[in-house]
């Protein structure tokens, strides 16, 4: 093919890609494409292989290093288990009490979801377009399924390709989580700060709202994706932003650099019929 024809082909390919990109804009940060799912399916097995091999290496190295401290750690863990058992008894008692009170006023609590573990096979949490790929085994992940770690919220599934899934981290600029200040119950929207540092912004909190550094922020359960009460972050700074809203910076509770296993939360999402009846909200 001569250079002239190649030049025309370049223009056609670029225009096609621009149309493809523009078509995604309404759902930016939303659903993935088939092409992306195919790509993910192709490269993820290799990522999983690297993750498994690396885990094997670091695991055996860790075993050797930690053998001496295992006995002491075991004792301290036994003490911790005893303490947690006592706490569990107390919480079960409180839970029963809450159920009884809820039944008395006919309050319908949202169902609590099940969680299942998934391995992180690829994680890029440092570059400006950050992402995470997980392997969920036999049962594939579901679109928009919340992803958690023991410390708090990690993100949500945006592309599913067989047992692999791509996760949008909450620190991604395109991510948005309906959240609330745990102390005052004031709601806002948590977004990735967009910088290279792992930080979050809590937007749309009016100036008259009481928000202080150190406040814990949890999901509010208002976006139809994340259930209420999942820890998101801690308020780091509160500054007067514009004329209406605070500029609130959060520190995420999750250390994204140390994630090697995450949990998929199987909870009942808001039914599609209900979502259709609502004005369009982009999470």
């Amino acid at each position: 093919m001569d250079e002239r024809r190649t030049g025309w082909l370049l223009i056609v390919v670029l225009l096609g890609q621009l149309v493809f990109l523009a078509a995604q804009v309404p759902s930016a940060g939303g659903s993935g494409t088939y092409l992306q799912a195919i790509g993910l399916r192709l490269v993820s097995p290799l990522a999983r292989l690297v993750a498994v091999v690396s885990r094997g290496f670091s695991g055996s190295r860790e075993d050797l290093r930690l053998r001496e401290g295992l006995i002491a750690e075991n004792r301290s863990l036994h003490r911790e288990v005893d303490r947690l058992r006592l706490q569990l008894l107390r919480l079960e008692d409180l839970g029963d009490e809450m159920d009884r009170l809820g039944a008395a006023v006919q309050y319908a609590t949202p169902p609590v979801g099940q969680i299942r573990a998934a391995d992180v096979v690829y994680l890029d949490h440092t570059s400006w377009l950050r992402t995470l790929v997980l392997y969920s085994g036999g049962t594939p992940a579901r679109m928009n399924q919340p992803v958690l770690s023991p410390a708090g919220l990690v993100g949500r599934v945006i592309v599913v390709a067989g047992p692999y899934a791509k996760v949008q981290l909450i620190t991604d600029r395109a991510a948005a989580v309906g959240s609330m200040d745990l102390r005052t119950r004031r709601q806002g929207v948590v977004r990735g700060s967009g910088g290279t540092e792992e930080a979050l912004d809590l937007d749309y909190v009016p100036l008259q709202a009481d928000v202080r550094p150190g406040d814990r922020v949890v999901t509010a359960g208002i976006d139809g994706i994340y259930p209420r009460g999942i820890p998101v972050g801690t308020v780091a700074t509160v500054e007067p932003g514009g004329q209406l809203f605070h500029r609130i910076r959060l520190t995420p509770l999750v250390d994204f650099g140390s994630l090697d296993q995450v949990y998929l939360l199987d909870h009942l999402p808001v039914p599609a019929e209900v979502k259709k009846a609502l004005p369009r909200v982009r999470p």
Partner: protein, 172 residues
């Protein structure tokens, strides 16, 4: 043969990316192995294959990046592949420092295109820090230069061995 070499290079790039991210979390910020593959392939001067290689590699790279839009790197790498191939048709790049310059500039251009597209298409896009853009461009240039120099050296050694073997055959 060229396609096979390209596919092997691409597979190696994917592997290096996965291992690199596992060992050094900052790896994707410092070097873009996919861009290096596109640029080195485009040095052959065939603008058609360079264009297609850029498209394929870019879309693959898009599966491993976030940001909400799929195809940013596909677009950028298509332009980079084509441009580097056109440049290679006009310039004879033999020195390793020349390769460093071209690939570093290609990386700067690629990051510029991706940022530009993100600014055009996303409401409040994330932006990389200029320092890291520079570091990444330099990282890509150095990696490209090392690979180019290594491949040239290997080809020279292979050729001289082959010539030696041929002359021994003739004498025998």
């Amino acid at each position: 043969m060229s396609a096979l070499k390209f596919l092997l290079g691409l597979a190696a790039a994917v592997l290096v990316q996965f291992v690199g991210v596992k060992l050094f979390p900052d790896f994707p910020r410092v070097v873009d192995v996919f861009l290096v593959v596109v640029a080195l392939h485009a040095f052959s001067g065939n603008s058609l294959t360079a264009l297609l290689a850029g498209l394929l590699v870019g879309l693959l790279e898009d599966t491993l990046t976030g940001g909400g839009l799929y195809g940013l790197y596909g677009f950028a790498d298509t332009i980079i592949g084509y441009s580097v191939a056109r440049l290679a048709q006009r310039l004879v790049i033999q020195r390793a420092t020349g390769v460093l310059g071209v690939i570093s500039f290609a990386s700067l251009a690629q990051q510029g295109i991706v940022v530009g597209l993100a600014l055009l298409l996303l409401p409040s896009p994330p932006l990389p820090r200029p320092l890291w853009v520079g570091i990444k461009a330099l990282g890509c240039g150095i990696l490209g230069m090392l690979l180019y120099a290594g491949a040239a050296r290997w080809t020279r050694t292979y050729e001289s061995r082959r010539r030696g073997r041929m002359s021994r055959l003739r004498m025998g």
